[in-house]
Structure formats: structure tokens, C-alpha cells
Amino acid sequence: MNQPSLGRMILIGTIMLLSYVMLFQHVTIARISLDLMAIYLMWIMLAYPRFQSMWFAAVVGFLLDAMTDQWGLNMFAYTGAVTLLYGVFERFREIKLLDWQYLTLLFGFILIKSSLFAVTTLFTNGVDLAQPVWLFILGTSVYTVIVGYIVNVISPS
């Protein structure tokens, strides 16, 4: 896979982050919101080495935490998910993913990330999922996979 330029990916990330903060975090279905940045980090993992991917995950998580006042939660979950799953993603870096492969990878990534996030909230004061943990994990995963598939279909590459 050709590695896209860093500037372009940062620009895309910024746009996605801002659109998430301004719009998509408010578009909820049954109080379940989309995890748009997971889609972005999946692209990063499929394009960049582990070192850069972890930095991207940490920065994205940090910015997301800053904008949602969840300091450390998203950073921990994204970084942890990238650390755990990068080895799997690395195997698919050189091939063009089929739809089911793309969706499976995305589903696995968002599942791990949501699980880490949900578990972390159990030990953190002042953050409440406002719904059962299983519903949060599954709901967020399914919602994000559906949107991720749509994004994958309409995106140029």
C-alpha cells in the first residue's frame, strides 16, 4: 500500500476530529454515538508503522479527551487498542482489503477500543456510560462499522 503523506493524513484527521466534535457526537441512535476516529485510526494503522500509529492514536485520543472532557480515557483506549491490534493490521498493509476483511478489522478494532474505554470508565469517577456496558460496546461497534462501510464505499481510495 502506498503510504499517504503525513500532512494529508493530519489534515484528514483534523477534519474528521472537528466534524466529530461539532456534529457526529450529537448524532446518536438510542443514546449510542459513533466512534468516527476509530475509522481514521484504522486507516493510519493500515498506512503507517507502529511507532507513528501509536503517536497518532495518542494525539487523537488526547484531542478527543480535551474536547469531550474525558481526560485520559480515549487516549488510553485508542493507544491500547492500537498497541494490541497493530500486529494484526500490519499483515494487511500490503494488500487491498476486501469489504468483509475491512469490516472485520474495523469491528475488531472498535470492539477492543470500546471495551478498553468501558472498562476504564469503571475505575474512573465522573464518567458514566449512561447505558449497560455490553450495549455500549456492541452498539458503538455496530454503529461505527456501518458508518465505516459507507465511508469506505464512498471514499476514493
Binding site: L18, V21, M22, L23, H26, P49, R50, F51, M54, W55, A57, A58, G61, F62, D65, A66, M67, T68, D69, W71, G72, L73, M75, F76, T79, G80, V82, T83, E90, R93, E94, T120, T124, N125, G126
Partner: protein, 288 residues
């Protein structure tokens, strides 16, 4: 190409551990003063970012509110119309009750079930018949004036010949001069009545009130009929041709009174009587 990982304690692992520890540290210290300034700054940034969306939200909320208010407005308008209608009806009924209480006549309140005002023989049916002692020839009046007379009866219903019927006649007088004449419908204008047989020696002025004279045994005396609209000399005759505007608007007529206990020589038992012999209009059906 992917860069090779550099062992379990390599650069990537150390970075991962560092970042995870950093995030845990942030979680622990999030409520401490160390992050306060950062939180304040992020709050300011997020507020600015979400401001346009909040406007959209406000606009959307305004649209919803507007829709709800429109719905409530329609309901309130409907309720208001019904209240106004009830108020009007109340006022009419109150006038009728006052009229009945203040009158020495034996009045039976009735409602008009149907009206044929614009037909060649204008008639209407009322909600009272022989069981309520409504008889043929009984006058039908309204607090504003005369309406007509009963021409056909059944047990529960009766047919009323309106004053606009071509065959309707009533003895009337001009209230000021007490000059009497015969009142009939003006078939030419179809909006007014004609008072005949008032001598030219009687001064007639526009605006004078016209009422029943009492010479008719069907209509008691002094029941209003209308107002003099104009008075002309009839050619080759020594009487006035007086045009009278009726007091009662048949279009809006919905209630009235049957004047009972008036002795009418043509009053007969309605069961034994063939209505078609009484009046040509009696061929119409009474019940709607």
C-alpha cells in the same frame, strides 16, 4: 514498507507503555489543579467549535416549537370559534327566553329543521306538531318580528309558510299613524314586502315601523314586521305603494315561537283535513 518492530523492550513498546502511563496519569489527575487550565482552554475551544451547531440546534428547536405552536394555534382557533358560536347561540336563546317571559302571548319555542327560502314557495319545517298543540294558521314569530304561519301539521312536525311566500298576506299597520293595510311579499324585488291599501291621506315616512294590526285572528297585534323603506303613489289609485324591509332575516333564522291559542276560522283538525285543499304549498313534504 513496514518498519520492523524492535523487540519486546524496543522503541515501540516503550512508546506504547509511556503513552498508556501518560493517559492513566491524566485520568488520575483530571480533577486536580494541574489540568484545570488545560480543561479551561479546551472548554473555550469546544465552545467556539460547537457554537455554529448550537445555532442549528436552536433553529431546529425553534422549528419544532413553531410547529407545535401552529398546532396549538389551530386547536385554540377551533375552540375559540366554538366558544364564539356558543356565545352567539347563548345570546340568541337568552333573547328568546326574555321575549317569551315578557310576552303575554302563549308562545311555544320551536326550532327550524329545514328551510326552503329561495324556492318558489318558501317554507320551512319546525320541531313541533299537533302533539304540542300546533294548529293550522298559527302564527310563527321571532323576537324581531313575524316569520310566517303554519300551513301543515303532523304529530311532531309542522310546515311554516314564510312571509316571503307569494300567498302570504297579513293585516298590518304603520305604528305612528296606525294606518292599516295588507302586507304581501314583493315578487319584483324579492327582498322587501309591499303594504297596500294605505290611503294617500295618511302621511307615510321612510323609517316608520310596521307591525301587525291585530285584525287578523292569526297574528296578534303589535308584532313587528319591518321598516318603511319607501312610499310611492300608485297610479290611478288613491293609495300608497309602501315598500317595507322585513325585520326578520330568514337566512339566519334558526329558532322562533308558535303563537298558540289564537282562534282561526280556518283552523281544522289536521288529521281530518286534506292539506292540499288548504294551500297549494301544502303539497310539499313536511318531514325532512
Amino acid at each position: 514498507m513496514a518498519q520492523p518492530s524492535n523487540g519486546f523492550f524496543g522503541r515501540d513498546t516503550l512508546l506504547g507503555a509511556f503513552l498508556l502511563l501518560l493517559s492513566i496519569l491524566m485520568m488520575v489527575l483530571r480533577f486536580d489543579d494541574g489540568l484545570r487550565h488545560l480543561r479551561q482552554a479546551s472548554l473555550a475551544v469546544v465552545s467556539r467549535l460547537e457554537a455554529p451547531l448550537s445555532n442549528v440546534r436552536v433553529f431546529r428547536q425553534a422549528l419544532n416549537t413553531n410547529r407545535e405552536l401552529q398546532r396549538q394555534n389551530i386547536l385554540l382557533q377551533d375552540e375559540l370559534n366554538r366558544l364564539r358560536s356558543a356565545e352567539t347561540q347563548n345570546s340568541i336563546l337568552r333573547d328568546l327566553i326574555n321575549f317569551q317571559d315578557g310576552s303575554t302571548l302563549d308562545l311555544l319555542p320551536v326550532q327550524f329543521e329545514s328551510k326552503s327560502i329561495f324556492s318558489p314557495n318558501p317554507t320551512g319545517s319546525i320541531t313541533a306538531g299537533t302533539e304540542q298543540n300546533v294548529g293550522l294558521g298559527n302564527a310563527v314569530i321571532h323576537p324581531q318580528g313575524i316569520v310566517g304561519r303554519v300551513i301543515l301539521t303532523t304529530k311532531q312536525r309542522a310546515q311554516v309558510m314564510f312571509y316571503s311566500h307569494p300567498n302570504f298576506r297579513v293585516s298590518a299597520k304603520i305604528m305612528d299613524s296606525r294606518a292599516t293595510g295588507i302586507l304581501r311579499w314583493n315578487l319584483k324585488s324579492n327582498e322587501t314586502m309591499i303594504l297596500d291599501y294605505v290611503p294617500l291621506t295618511i302621511p307615510v315616512q321612510v323609517g316608520q315601523e310596521v307591525a301587525t294590526s291585530g285584525f287578523s285572528q292569526q297574528f296578534p297585534e303589535n308584532i313587528p314586521i319591518g321598516i318603511v323603506e319607501s312610499a310611492e303613489r300608485q297610479s290611478d289609485q288613491s293609495t300608497w305603494l309602501i315598500t317595507v324591509t322585513p325585520s326578520v332575516d330568514l337566512n339566519r333564522l334558526a329558532e322562533g315561537f308558535v303563537v298558540q291559542n289564537t282562534t282561526d276560522p280556518i283552523d281544522q283538525d289536521p288529521i281530518d283535513q286534506d292539506p292540499t285543499e288548504q294551500d297549494p304549498t301544502a303539497q310539499d313534504e313536511v318531514d325532512p
